[in-house]
Amino acid sequence: MKLTFSPEDEAFRKEIAGWLQNNLCDEFEPIRFRGGPGDEHMFHEQRHAWEQKMAQGGWTCVGWPKDMGGRGCSIEQQVIFHEEYARAGGPGRVGHIGEGLAGPTIIAFGTEAQKQKYLPGIVSGKELWCQGYSEPGAGSDLANVKTKARFDQDRQQWVINGQKVWTSLAHEADYCFVIARTDPDSKAHKGLGFFLVKMDQPGVEVRPIQQITGTCEFNEVFFDDAVCAAEDIVGAPGEGWKVAMGLLGFERGVSTLGQQMQFQNEFNEIVRVAKENGAAQDPVIRQRIAKAHTELKIMRYNAMRMLSGQAGSDGALQREALIYKLYWATWHRELGELAMDVLGPESQILEAEPYQLSRLQAMYLFVRSDTIYGGTNQIQRNIIAERGLGMPKEPRP
C-alpha cells in the first residue's frame, strides 16, 4: 500500500500535462473549465472541435485496447490522465458517453462488424452518443421498460416505438443505445434487447427538458416507428438486460478521479470566496469547509482502493465500490449548499437576466440531480444493504 506513482507513470503525467498546456489554449481558451455537469449545454461546437483535437493527439479512449483504436493505458495512467485533464481545466467531454459506455459495450459484446462500424467514429471524436435507458415509467425501476422493438421480417429491420427520458446530449448525438422490449409479453429483466439506433431519421424526435437551472441538458426522445438494422442489435434479442448491466460494470471508476479533480476545483473556488468575503472567520463555516475537505480527500483514497482491488470473480462490487455513488453524490449535494452559505445573501443575485447563473449557483442547483440519477440515494441504500450486508431483498410483486 503506497501513495506514489512509478517514475514511468510520472513521465506519462508530464507528457499529458505538456500536451494539454500546448493545445488547450488559443481558440480553446474560452472553453477551459466549461461544459461540465450543469454546464453541458454550453460551447457545444467548440467542445466537439476540441474532442477531435484530442483525437489527433491520441488522447481519446486512452483506456481502450490498442487494437480497438485506444491508447492501451494502464489503470494508473488513466487515473493520471483524468487528473491532469481536470487540473488543466479540460472542458466537459462531449464524447464521454461513446468513449465510456457505448464503446466498451460494443468491444465486450458487439460483433466484428459493429466494432468496425462504430468504434472509429468514437475514437476520432466525430460521432457522439446518448443513452436510452430511463422512461417515464422506468426510473428507479429501470427494468420496467415499455419501449418496444418489433422485427419487421419483410424489411429485415427492427422497428422501435416508445419514449425515453433524461437523455443527456440527445440533441447533439449521432447515435443512441436503446434498451427496448423484443418480446412484447415479457416482464422486468427478461425479453429486452440492446439496440444501436441512428438519431437522424424520421422516427426519432428529441424534445429538450428545461431543468431547475433553466437550462436544457436533458431531453425526452420519442421513437415512432424508428428503425434499426438487423445487425445493430448487441447480443441476442432477450439478452439486452445482460448487456445493459455489463455496461454499468465498465464504469470501473477510473473517470471518478477526474470527477474528483473537478470537485476540487469547485471546493477551491468556495475556499477562495470564503477567504475573500470573510466567511472563513465563521466557526460554523470553518467546520463545514473542513468537513468537505476531509471527505473529498478520503473520496480520493476510496477511489484508489476501488481501482487497486481485484474485481470479484462474480463481478460483484467490493464494499468500497458499493458505497461510492451514495458517498460522492451526497458529498456533492452538501458542497452546493456550502457554496451558497459561504456566499450568503449574495448567493441570491444572478449574473444577468433572464436567468444567468454563476458557476457556483449552477453547481448548487445541478447537484440536486446527483442524488437522483444513476440510482437514487434510496436505491443505493437498498443495494448496499442487500449486496453488501446480505439483508433481505425488497419484495417484488
Binding site: M1, K2, L3, T4, F5, D9, R13, E76, V79, E83, R87, M261, Q264, F267, N268, V271, A274, K275, A280, P283, R286, Q287, I289, A290, K291, H293, T294, E295, K297, I298, R300, Y301, N302, M304, R305, L307, S308, G309, Q310, R319, E320, L322, I323, L326, Y327, Q378, Q380, R381, N382, I384, A385, E386, G388, L389, G390, M391, P392, E394
Partner: protein, 409 residues
Amino acid sequence: MEFAFTEEQNMIRDTAESFLREVSTSGAIRDVMVTATGYDVSLWHSICRDLYWQAIHTPEAYGGMGLGYVELVATQEQMGRFLLCSPFFTSVCLGINALLVVGSEQQKQTWLPRLIEGKTASLAFGGEVISRRGGGWSCDVVDATWQRQGDTYVLNGEYRYVLDAFSSEFLILAARQDGSEGSDGISLFIVDANTAGIEREALPTMDQTRRQGTVTVNGLKISPEDRLGEEGRAGCQLQTILDLATIALAAEQMGGAQQVLDMTVAYSKERSQFGRTIAGFQAIKHKAADMMLRVEVARSGVYYAACVAQEAMEALANDAAIDTDALSEAASIAKSYCSDAFFKNAGEAIQIHGGVGFTWEYDVHLYFKRAKASEHYLGNGAWHRERLASLLLDRDGLDQDLSLQEGAL
C-alpha cells in the same frame, strides 16, 4: 500507486482477527474491565511473547519486527473491533512512538528493548487545560514545568487524562521551561513510574475498557540522560508523536465502527416483528447502509493516513525532515471522520437493537462508551476540523498546496 493490502498484511490482519475473536470475548472483557489494571496482564504478556504485536513497527535494530505503520493500523483495527483491553495503544502508539520520534540512538537502544519485552509506558503531557476552551490536544497545552538545578531537572505539575496512568511501568512526561509559551520550551523525559516525586491516581471512567488517571509530579528530579530530545525543543516532536498516535487511534475507532455494524446486522436478521425479520424493513436497511458507508469511508481514510504516517516513519529512520503539515492533515482527517463514524454507528446500533441495546447484558453499550471515550481523546471531530480549517484558511496560499500537491499523487 497501490492501495490494497499485500498478502502479508492480509495475513497479519487475519491472524489478529482470529486470535482476538477467541480471547477478547464479552466475558473476558467484562472480567478484566473491573480489575485494578484494567487489562489481563498474562494475556498481554502472551501477546508480547507469541504474537509480538508490541514490536510491530519498531526497527529490527532495536529488537522490533521492522514492519510499517500500515501493519500497525491493521492490528489496531482488530483490537478496536474486539474491544481488547490492553496497554497496546498506550505503550506502543504513545510510548514506543515517542521514543522513535524523539529518542537518541542511545536512548532507543536502552528503552525500546524494555518496551518490546512487554514493559509498559504511557505519555503524560497536559493538565486540566485540555478540557478548557482554548485548550485541546496540541503540544501547546503542556503546562507542567521543568527547571534546571545544577545537573538535574526538576519537574512540577499535574497531568490529567493519562491513559493507563496507574498501571504503566514507565512514564514519558512533557514539561515546559518556566515562562515559555506555545510550542517553545518543551522537553520530554522518561522515568520509572515509581520514582519518588510522582503520584498517580486512577480515575473512574465511563468507558471501563481503557483506563485514565492523573499523574502529579512534585519536585521530581530527572537526570539529563533521561531527557528525550534537545532541551526545550521537543514541542514539534511532541506534536508528531500525538499525530502518529491519533492515526492509530482512528484505526481502532474504524474497527469498532465495523464491529457494531456487524453485530447490528446479525441481530436484525434474527429479531422478528410483524411476522418478519426487521432486517427486511427499509427503515433498518437504510440505517445499516449508512453505517456501512461510514465504515468504508473511515477505512479509506485510515489507510491513507497510515501511508502518510509510514512516510513519516521512513523519514525518521533516514534522519530526514518529516512533512509535518501532511502528517497533521492526515491525522485530523482520519480522526475527525472516524470519531464521528464510530460514535454514530454505535448510537445507531443501540437504536436498531431496541430495548436490549439499552441493557448492560448486551455488548453494544461497551462500544458506545468506547466510542465517546476515543472521540474525546486526542481531539474530537470538531477540534480536528478546526485544525484543518486553520491549515486551509488561515495561511496564505497553502490551500492550493494542500489540495493539489497531494492531488498530484
